[in-house]
Amino acid sequence: MKPNRLTVFARGVTYVTLCLMAALTLTPLLWLLAAAFKGQNELFHYVFFPPPGLLTVVNFQELWEAMPFGRYMLNSVFVASTTVVVQLFFGSLAGFALAKYEFKGKRLFMVLMLATLMIPGQVTMAPLYELIYRLGLMDSFPGLIVPQAVSVFGIFLFRQYLLQVPDELMHAARIDGCSEFRIYWDIMMPISRPMVGAFCLTSFMATWNSFLWPQIILHHSGRFTLPVALNQLVGQYQQEYGTLMAGTLLSILPVLILFLLLQREFVEGLTAGAVKG
């Protein structure tokens, strides 16, 4: 089928629009990249990149002088990845139970969870703060991780996904002598790979970017996560934009890498719940 003129035109418009949108979206990121490698005096002298000779890594050096950035990076990596692993395990286990078993109190539990999903997390911040204080978890990583260990959203994601898995699979496994936990571990989870990928990424991002709670809980600057640390660079009267941009660039890299690795699973998994739910 040969496209006629009109469709050629329509295709042209589509491509132009798409390219324009992509360009508009990428421009700020490009600027960020440029700003991180520009010297202080060049920052506003060149809109994007200066001549290659003026590119510099001085901002990164200053960043490391201004703060122990490597430690902050590792703090963030530790908190985010631990949270993901814990959430993933608890969430998928409970989601599996909700999808594949009938038990007393299931309905009540579901309603309760839905209700908390409707209540914004900020409502509980004040009492949670008190609780963390009582538990002696102030200014500690457990204080960040433990309250986040359960993700109601994650449970629903896994429940939704596992609902589609035919029960026959479980029956067959039981006949083979699988324990219930084995069914979860060896059958259900490998099937849920796309969901696992999607969940890992969303959960990692949420924790990685989390700001308010760490800002409240963490006291010692040695424990800061990246968002909290970077916010320290934002000063009222003095601002080193170059350093700030270098820090921002480094802070978003891990998520970017993770996304590139998980892209397919992410899109598949993330949308599966929404489209079919």
Partner: protein, 314 residues
């Protein structure tokens, strides 16, 4: 904390059917118990506690005075809270109204079968979401700088906007700046959802519509919208709830302040300020509950309006 159910020794299960059934009966409870425990302590209890706390005036967790419903009554008269609510509602409205159609439009363009480099376009448009609110806030606080910032330079060159337009210092422009930033940040995410939904629409439906002589607009309303309706509703509600919880973006972009004339003060920022800067955890809880009620109400209205009330039986 050990979570592995110890009853799951798989070898006897075949031999003893009583043990087998017991295991099957107990399994869900065991699977759910670690979650349940944490959920009860860190999910449910604080909610109950925050209701109680909202009846107190406090100065930090140690110093509190029972004030009954006074916090809620004061909320009704509190000019700053009114500003926060107004700002949040305005932000949520414009965010949803601008982000969703744009996301849908992009998704429809990208869902065309013949589009090449779809993954690249999708990645490009989606990439801001990966940056995260705090880092976007930092980046845009610099892009919005008057005189030398990228946005003003760009807008000056293209539409002649004055170079010294102070996006983040002019109370009238703070909200547009926030909406614009959110537009950049979230459109790609919505687009991913909608694109996936569009791609799942069966082709025959369109072919049938074409046979019936429906034009593009008619096809859109008759085929596309009904087919992607659950996703649309999901995205609508999620983006509304998300918008109502706006905090990091203005907080970072406005240098940890509510902005000139409180123009960037949101409900959550007000909650943070009263609770964790002033130290009135009680009042902050009252603010939180008001936010919760508002979000619930709006979600319900949206569900009702989109007719999803009965259709959605999850």
């Amino acid at each position: 904390m050990t979570t592995r159910p110890n009853s799951s020794s798989s070898t006897h299960s075949l031999h003893s059917s009583r043990g087998y059934h017991l295991q099957q009966k107990m399994a869900p409870y065991l699977f759910i118990s670690p979650f349940l425990l944490l959920f009860a302590v860190f999910g449910v209890w604080p909610i109950v506690k925050s209701l109680v706390l909202s009846m107190y005036a406090t100065s930090g967790p140690k110093d509190s005075v029972f004030v009954g419903t006074q916090n809620y009554r004061y909320l009704l008269a509190d000019a700053d809270f009114h500003t926060a609510v107004k700002n949040t509602v305005v932000f949520a409205f414009w965010s949803v109204v601008l982000q969703l159609p744009l996301a849908l439009g992009l998704a429809m363009l990208l869902s065309r079968r013949w589009v090449r480099g779809r993954n690249l376009f999708r990645l490009a448009v989606f990439s801001p979401y990966l940056v995260g609110q705090v880092f976007v806030g930092v980046l845009f606080s610099v892009l919005f700088i008057p005189q030398y910032g990228l946005l003003n330079q760009g807008l000056h060159a293209t539409v002649g906007l004055p170079l010294d337009t102070k996006w983040l210092a002019d109370p009238a422009l703070v909200m547009p700046a926030l909406v614009l930033t959110a537009l950049w940040l979230y459109t790609g995410l919505h687009m991913i959802y909608l694109l996936a939904a569009l791609q799942a629409v069966e082709r025959e439906l369109y072919e049938a519509a074409q046979v019936d002589g429906a034009n593009a607009t008619q096809q859109f309303w008759a085929v596309t919208v009904p087919a992607i309706r659950p996703t649309l509703i999901y995205v609508l509600i999620m983006s509304t709830i998300g918008s109502f919880q706006l905090f990091e973006l203005p907080y970072i972009m406005l240098n940890n302040t509510p902005g000139p004339n409180n123009s960037g003060l949101t409900i959550v920022m007000y909650l943070y300020q009263t609770g964790f800067v002033t130290g009135d955890l009680g009042y902050a809880s009252a603010v939180g509950w008001t936010l919760a009620l508002g979000v619930l109400l709006i979600s319900l209205v949206q569900l009702r309006l989109t007719g999803a009330w009965k259709a959605r039986e999850a």
